[in-house]
């Protein structure tokens, strides 16, 4: 049987990344450098079923996903979409050893737990708002 070799991919503009090596499990920092979460998973736009037509647009990353999806990454399975906590890819400003966002963590869904713990527990303990001395 003749083996078919894949043709080289077309050159792409901008950064080329291996998602598994350089994107997944990276820290996500917000605009001010404060950690928000890790990249637990990535949401990619749909790949058409069946044979892929030659002129089909390539799938794009639509969001960074975090939250309960981590459990499915470790143990397997699939979460219903309503359980995904997404950071839209449009919020990402750069991808280096960490993923930097162009927005503040405050506004994101992904920082909800942090805000909840802060407002309902930590803020209530005296001294929480001060710098350590």
């Amino acid at each position: 049987m003749r083996s078919h070799r894949l043709t080289t991919p077309p050159p792409a503009a901008g950064q080329v990344l291996d998602a598994q090596l350089s994107l997944l499990d990276r820290q996500v920092l917000d605009r001010t450098g404060v950690p928000v979460t890790t990249v637990d998973d990535i949401e990619v736009s749909d790949v058409p079923e069946g044979a892929i037509p030659v002129d089909a647009a390539p799938p794009v990353i639509t969001a960074i996903v975090t939250g309960p999806v981590l459990a499915t990454r470790i143990f397997g399975g699939r979460l219903p979409e309503s359980r995904y906590i997404r950071i839209p890819w449009s919020d990402v400003s750069s991808v280096e050893t960490v993923v930097r966002l162009g927005v503040d963590g405050e506004a994101l869904d992904a920082s909800w737990t942090e805000r909840w713990v802060r407002d309902h527990i930590i803020r209530r303990i005296p001294g929480g708002r001060h710098d350590p001395e």
């Binding site: 499990d25 990276r26 820290q27 996500v28 404060v34 950690p35 928000v36 979460t37 890790t38 637990d40 975090t66 981590l70 990454r73 470790i74 050893t97 737990t113 942090e114 805000r115 713990v117 802060r118 527990i121 930590i122 803020r123 303990i125 001294g127 929480g128 708002r129 001060h130 710098d131 350590p132 001395e133």
Partner: protein, 409 residues
Amino acid sequence: MKRLFAVALGILTAIGGFVDIGDLVTNAVVGSRFGLGLVWVVLVGVIGICLFAQMSGRVAAVSGRATFEIIRERLGPRAAVANLGASFLINLMTLTAEVGGIALALQLATSVEPMLWMPLAAFGVWIVVWRAKFSILENVTGLLGLSLIVFAVALFLLKPDWSGLAAQAVTPQVPAGEESPTYWYYAIALFGAAMTPYEVFFFSSGAIEEKWTVKDLSQSRSNVLVGFPLGGLLSIAIAACAAVVLMPRSIDVTSLSQVVLPVAEAGGKVALAFVIVGILAATFGAALETTLSSGYTLAQFFGWSWGKFRRPVKAARFHLTMIICLLLGLGVLFTGVDPILVTEYSVVFSAVALPLTYLPILIISNDPQYMGRHVNGRLTNGLGLVYLGIILVASLAAIPLMIITGAGA
């Protein structure tokens, strides 16, 4: 001059911070039952902890990232979760032992029941973690921990048979009344006490807390390479005091009060005061470190905001984790379990978990993507592989030996 002061401070802190309740108890037990026949294990353990603390400090200083962040990035979430699970549980056990140790030390000073001291001890640890600056926390407990030098002083005051002690150390023998499996069980326990896994996470997160860069590497190297061996000498002094005073009387150490009796015999009430201060500082410092480590490991794995350099509202889940861990530890202590027993189990389980905690460090410190040109040299890697072998053997043998010897009975 200021530079010299900083160097001295670093070294002194490392010496004083080396000993924790695990070292205190295990070395005293071993000294009272086996004399100095297990000193070689302390030496092996000290070299090991120097090796790995150096590696983890270097990783943090060069890459600017803390251990658990890199473990997850480099080895994937599955490996990281296994590592996290083991490390976190052992850490919690060690934390419980240290807080119990604080209470026991306070009992030695005041004769008041340890259980009454435990809530105060846990609260004390929490308030320091909540409010105190990282460097102050480290320096104060480290320097006060130097009080433990009184064990070495006591040893000299006891005028022991030095050649006899040396013979015990150089040609180890299992004494009459003890058996081989028990000897090896305690060897593993002592190894686990010296190689304290939480040290790795604490050291590398601490490097980030104090904002180390490549320039600080030589400072950290001297802290570790001078401070830890001297701390190891303190451990040996603890064992030697027990060997000289307790072993001839057939006293097996099972409580903290027995650990300090040799010091009282040698130097009276003054020495006793020093040793109690030293034990308090050592256990309190270790309690702080294990509490912080529990926060570091969880926060770094999940990508939460962490660090003592941030005010608590800016690192909410980090602080909540530490509060919960302290409460859990307190809960366990309130069941009335003997803190010494918790200590003895924590060091053995530390030995079991060692491969999981150290293998990632070895892998990452060889990764040029994070380390640039500061990857491990040949010698470091050679030693690292040898130690990985030792760690694996100790880890596999620990539980069977625990069962055979009935946990060292």
